[in-house]
Amino acid sequence: MIGLLIRDLRLAIRAGGGFGLGLAFFLIVIVLMPFGIGPETGMITRIAPGILWIGALLACLLSLDRIFALDWEDGSLELLATSPLPLEAVAGIKALAHWITTGLPLVAAAPVLAILLNLPPEGFPWLIASLALGTPALSAIGTFGAALTVGLKRGGLLLSLLVLPLYVPTLLFGAEAARRGAEGMDALTPLALLAGITFLTAAAMPFAAAAALRVNLR
């Protein structure tokens, strides 16, 4: 299992692996936001947590179809399915690899971009905590979506349509925790609910993804 994780991480950082693509997209979206919204500082500060969360969510979405599509195309998914690794473990490892290459860089970059959006300093820990707790759920749900659409040519758009509604609870509680933190209110409740969603998806999604993969491999 460790071998699969190392292989996926190695593939991600090699040429054409797509590492940094989500991060670069996140940076550009957030940098463009103030241009679109205008110079009114109060406005940007107020909506900064929401913008950062939506940016992170879209950046995450960008690389989802790579989770299984590449292994499907070159036949390694079939070989993995006939290997001693259970497909549930394969799906879990793939989700983890996706989070390390996509979610984790977003968490690290968010504070820098928060300065750009003039987020109040007391909101920073809450923003980082909410992203760190919430992005694993994005990867886990996305892995399920990727497993559902794996055999389809150009399944990326369908994948987005399937996955975005499932992202709503994570976005809701994640952005709420970051907003409350920035406004100096108690943000523990949405943060706890966010953690609950993440643990639930991390526990359930590998099984759903494996079931979808089995159907698609037939």
């Binding site: 071998g3 699969l4 292989r7 070159d74 036949g75 079939e78 290997s83 001693p84 037939r218």
Partner: protein, 211 residues
Amino acid sequence: MSLSVHSLSCARGGIQVLTGVGFAVAPGEALILRGPNGAGKTTLLRTLAGLTPPLEGRIDAPDDGIAYAGHADGLKAQLSVAENLRFWAGVFGATGIEAAVEAFDLGELLDRRAGNLSAGQKRRLSLARLLVTGRPVWCLDEPTVSLDVDNVARFARAVETHLSNGGSAIIATHIDLGLPTARSLDITPFTRRNQPVTVDEADPFLSEGAL
């Protein structure tokens, strides 16, 4: 650790392809599957490998005993030959890749990226993976595609070594592999469309389409 199949029916893409397939392969035996394109060789091998559940019938095989190799090589173009092999060795819990490298003469290519190999070299790497799986039953789907004559012979030697070590192999191929001990099985008689289909047992989608 023998593999036996009893009155097996297999489907691909929801359409029944084979019915009533039965055979047994003992350790040390090789079975060559013959049949024209579309006869159902790939479908049978995918069913044996567990990728497609059988419609009916029974497959008696050792647990985790089947190594499958399909049309696709299953290689990562960005990884080197050694990295590709070591990954599969790790997945299957094998200790080393030396025997596999030697059997398919990959020593000089170890540090090359798999994406830069020729089609035949890729195929050799993909076949070398079978040796690191350490599994007794090989299910191979046209393993000699894009191999030259020398490498077909090299592949036949690898299969013979595998058989003499108590393994077995089921190989779908159109060429003569030069395996003197191998039995042949023509699967054409089991192909579904070669048998009379009565309306009530036909697939509902098919009969609707026919009407």
